[in-house]
Symmetry: C2
Subunit: 338 residues, 2 copies
Amino acid sequence: MGSDNGPAVVVDGIAKSAAINPDVSFILHGRASELEPLVAKRKLGHRVTIADAQDVVSMDDKPSHVMRNGKDTSMWSAIESVRQNDAQVAVSCGNTGALMAISMIRLRKLEGVNRPAIACLWPSRNPSGFNVMLDVGADIRADQDDLLQYALMGASYARNGLGLTRPRIGLLNVGTEEHKGRAELKVAHDLIEKNARSAEFDFVGFVEGGDIPSDRVDVIVTDGFTGNVALKTGEGTAALIRDLLREAFNHSILSKLAAVLALGSLKRLQKRIDPRRVNGGIFLGLNGTVVKSHGSADATGVSAAIKLAVTLAEGNFNERLAARVASAEGHPVQEHAP
Amino acid sequence: MGSDNGPAVVVDGIAKSAAINPDVSFILHGRASELEPLVAKRKLGHRVTIADAQDVVSMDDKPSHVMRNGKDTSMWSAIESVRQNDAQVAVSCGNTGALMAISMIRLRKLEGVNRPAIACLWPSRNPSGFNVMLDVGADIRADQDDLLQYALMGASYARNGLGLTRPRIGLLNVGTEEHKGRAELKVAHDLIEKNARSAEFDFVGFVEGGDIPSDRVDVIVTDGFTGNVALKTGEGTAALIRDLLREAFNHSILSKLAAVLALGSLKRLQKRIDPRRVNGGIFLGLNGTVVKSHGSADATGVSAAIKLAVTLAEGNFNERLAARVASAEGHPVQEHAP
């Protein structure tokens, strides 16, 4: 209900996914009076159950307000359906902060996780076409133990969501030399290295901003402040180039003709870096799986988020993640704490 | 001497700049035996003085090592020429960390500046085509007072380097709502706001990563860790798109034909986001001006860095900057410190 484009787009996304995945069923949370006609129009009645919820979380609502007053919202209802095992995964295009806040208080943190994280997919030179980066905004701080947990959770997500049997983990820093970077990053470096073998990932050490879209690494670990800035900077840079490219091709008759000829090529490029295809941030470290789609997602974007949700549900992702975090090697935190 | 492409490229850049700027003269620091033939070949003998220095700082040298053992390097000699007022600005394509370290110990910090910063230019939707961002890597931390100084120095640089009479300053954060972000950012927000009037800039408040390439803001203020990650992420994203674009146009005969027709358009785009044109990070907050060019700069890049250096020297930039920092409004730091 609370996405930028309203519920019709979400129902369109469900229709796309329903056609591809005959075994998946949907619980749609929101105002039944609005949703019923949308579902009926697309003949999805046999695939979709509507969970009536009268209130809507808007993009401007503060998480703290929603936590206190949000019990009748569609967002709350969706998270509640995961808590009660009616749904295996929740998908939302709504307010990220509010969604994380509700998820935190209703699903609770996984045993052993101090700060849950949001992981995003990032276009890269990897064979799969993507990297995973976390945290991109669940929390603005992360200490060395949080960073270790992000590494474990990110590795588990890359394995179950992207199908990488032995993901390569990198820790984001400003330089690869040993004398650079913050103190907690050096401690985190050693903690992650220590856990690489038992958690079945390769640790490539420190990586820099330029490595995020590279094929050096599958999972980039960082605090939520830095990760959020990096994510939005990357998106903003891509958007700028897209606009400048459009401008360049609109410059003259010749360039317009070239654009027509290049249409196929440009579409291939667009597809490669299309945010809709990488749509689906995921909340990691909770007792339940929550996929956060872009607020401005269209039907293709919603369908991509559902596809990710289905993949994770089929692989019992959250049970595997929990086991992974629980088996992290003990480390003398007190020794390192400042 | 210590750039990726060697001294010939630097001399080529000087030749380009010398042709455009008849009033500028150059002191070239490095091994005279190598430099003399390069200068003679380009008939620059009357414009260039060679300052012989036998040692070279390599890209792998640690700053601490260079500080102790670097007295005979070309880099040290170049900074020394600024310190002794033989040169008005130093330009280097060498090791950034070493250059900052030498600049710090020889030029010393400006009165009132706690942490000098590196400012870079960033392709944006602004009329000038660029934003300024600082700090992008001089220091990995910045407290509220440092952030205020970055705002003052960035405004002064935008005024004198980019010709913006009333620059718009933004403080980088993860969200624009008042409840987000780190505590020191909130204090810095108020400090910068308080100084906007007397320092003759507009404060647009918090900005996000996506605003960096936007036309909302002229100067983005952040700590050196976040700024460095953002800079390299943006560069990496642009490089990825450039490669994918090339791939897309190489895909078929038709797309290759389109590429030929689109050549002009693509060159316009390339020029717009060409790192060589925005070449020239600048060190702010020292008793002297130092322009840091990309290590991999070609002659065009070196010439762009020299152009920036000339602009700043002609405007007596460093005197203006010093006056601006000195006149910062007092602020009750103790009240806000955690």
